[in-house]
Symmetry: C2
Subunit: 368 residues, 2 copies
């Protein structure tokens, strides 16, 4: 209940980059729902299992609507046209989708294809003048990521990366508590991200398409999580790689990597990335005054957890629904800078992942 | 319900070192209580807070009895004599306790003094012909530990180290499940052991008495726990040390160390040892088929946890009561080899701790 003067001071502090009183989404309360406004008209590129999940989630969006598809499989296009009522003129394949530049009914393309294809596809989307949303990791190297950022900038389109946890209410609650000092000085973060991968023939185990193994798929959650949970950027990395099944996990495809970070404040992190076993979906943040434990921490279902104050009880949401509504706000209402998931943020994770691979290979600490 | 022949085959397999069907305590069921038998008559050396805890716990022992004290503080001796009805002839100080060799009413001495004193004190106990129970870490170097083992062997007395978790029912339940294959192939262990240490003047922060910092006090739980939870001996170690308060944590006194192990099977472990912050008392064991999570995992109170099958529900015990009863059985009934906490086991942990310090200092993997 501050005065107008207090309000102006807070707003000024925010603009100047001082710590925000609330989460970077800029919400007054964490449970604020997206308000009505113009709809972001989205085409999905890549109609696999995650693309399907996003399409279903978008059916209850207030600000985003699935209007087009891009796929190499004609039968999938037909199915999606029926299910989501998509007009023929909004359907493309991987050869002809540059023509999307002449389609005024599509605002943005969500690229949900194998990692190794993101670079060229996002660049083509940008060059067609459409905003790009790209699944994570945004690319398979820092070099690729930086090129994507530059091309999108030059084309005047936004590039957002699908870091859905940045919209998840219990995650935001913990980040909010950390910023408010409720955990005290942050000392330690533990991030376990992994599962036992099935079919050995899938693209995730094919280097040309994946650009790596578990680290480039599930491990990135612990990398990104270390940053948003601790609230700092790591300054050093150490890592240890273990491979128990070199037939399934070939050269370049990491099976299990343990990695550690040091942060400027002296906080440290200890993380796991694996494709070898399940029951790995836990974040633990530890400060001088308290802790937060999230388990599961990044799965598609409800994020559960507790802090030293009790259970986390923020509303359960469909992550992808909230993500697409919020991304629509960012793109259409100009909220770009408020949530850390633009192309530059994606490049930061790639830079850390490259350092993890290097640290594991050289067996020594890599400074960032 | 096997035949006699099955029984003999099982026994033979056990003798030959094959996997045991039951925990190494040799209990038929995990909740078997110690049976009556002769009492182990114990003197406690070092009447500090943990000595007091052990003395209280022994009041309900069936097989062990506090009969003597060794202390440098005469007023403490008087207090303990009153509280525990200890005769004058069983009271010693640090100068005269070698005379215990002529005292037929004391069987064993439990050394609960600062780490740096264990070596000389245990050797004097052994040379007085008494069994030695030594708080962990048993010493401050491998060299010291090996000497203690040799002296006790030469003197014909037993040397047991106070690894109380090896008697704790929920811990034994998890070890039993692991041996029975219920977690499948073991892939990962996480051990967090730490707390925020208070008074900067205590012996634990004085190198001459402690031989190190958190690692030599609370970190050893994660070291020993890695071994009994995974059921293998580590073959490599990496470690990263962080110091945020060099005034409180002086040269040689480690504040926070993250360390990692690799095991022959390919399993890995990721551990934390710290004196800088609390809410660190968790073990997590992860196999291909299931998991066990213990939180708290090594604190003095009830050990709680769950596995993929549900909550851990073994009886709650006072750890030190059960420890002293079981140690009495080991000493008086000759069960020495059944629980891994003799001097050789203590040396194994010291060897690993020395490797952790070396790995942290050199910044590279140390092979064991």
């Amino acid at each position: 209940m501050g005065s107008r003067r207090d309000f102006v001071q807070k707003m000024t502090a925010t603009v100047l980059g001082a710590p925000l009183l609330y989460d970077r989404t800029g919400l007054k309360t964490l449970t604020d729902l997206p308000v009505d406004g113009p709809m972001l008209r989205v085409a999905i590129m890549g109609l696999g299992s995650y693309g399907t999940r996003v399409a279903k989630a978008m059916q209850t969006c207030k600000r985003a609507k699935l209007v087009g598809v891009i796929s190499g499989t004609p039968s999938k296009i037909v199915d999606w046209q029926k299910t989501y009522n998509i007009p023929e003129k909004n359907c493309y394949n991987y050869e002809d989708f540059d023509a999307i530049k002449d389609n005024p009914d599509i605002d943005a393309v969500y690229v949900i294809t194998p990692n190794g294809l993101h670079h060229s596809q996002v660049i083509r989307v940008a060059q067609a003048g459409k905003h790009a949303i790209c699944e994570k990791p945004m690319a398979i190297s820092v070099k690729e990521g930086e090129e994507m950022v530059q091309v999108c900038k030059d084309a005047g389109v936004m590039l957002l990366v699908g870091y859905r946890m940045h919209f998840e209410p219990n995650t935001l609650k913990v980040i909010h508590m950390r910023k408010a000092g409720e955990f005290g000085k942050i000392m330690f973060f533990q991030g376990q991200s992994g599962f036992k991968i099935g079919n050995p023939d899938q693209w995730r185990l094919n280097y040309a398409l994946s650009g790596g193994g578990a680290m480039m798929d599930i491990g990135i959650y612990a990398v990104n999580g270390s940053r948003y949970m601790v609230g700092e950027e790591p300054i050093w990395v150490t890592a240890q790689e273990t491979k128990t099944d070199p037939i399934k996990f070939r050269e370049g495809i990491d099976e299990t990597i343990q990695f550690q970070f040091g942060f400027p404040s002296g906080a440290v992190a200890s993380c796991l990335s694996t494709y070898a076993f399940s029951h790995n979906d836990r974040f633990y943040l530890n400060g001088i005054k308290g802790f937060a434990e999230m388990q599961p921490s990044t799965g598609y279902g409800p994020i559960k957890g507790r802090t030293h104050e009790g259970p986390l009880t923020e509303p359960i949401v469909t992550h992808q629904t909230l993500q697409m509504d919020r991304m629509a706000e960012m793109i259409l209402d100009g909220k770009k800078a408020e949530v850390p998931l633009d192309g530059e943020e994606g490049v930061k994770d790639l830079r850390i992942i490259e350092a993890i691979y290097k640290a594991a290979k050289k067996g020594k600490k890599i400074m960032l």
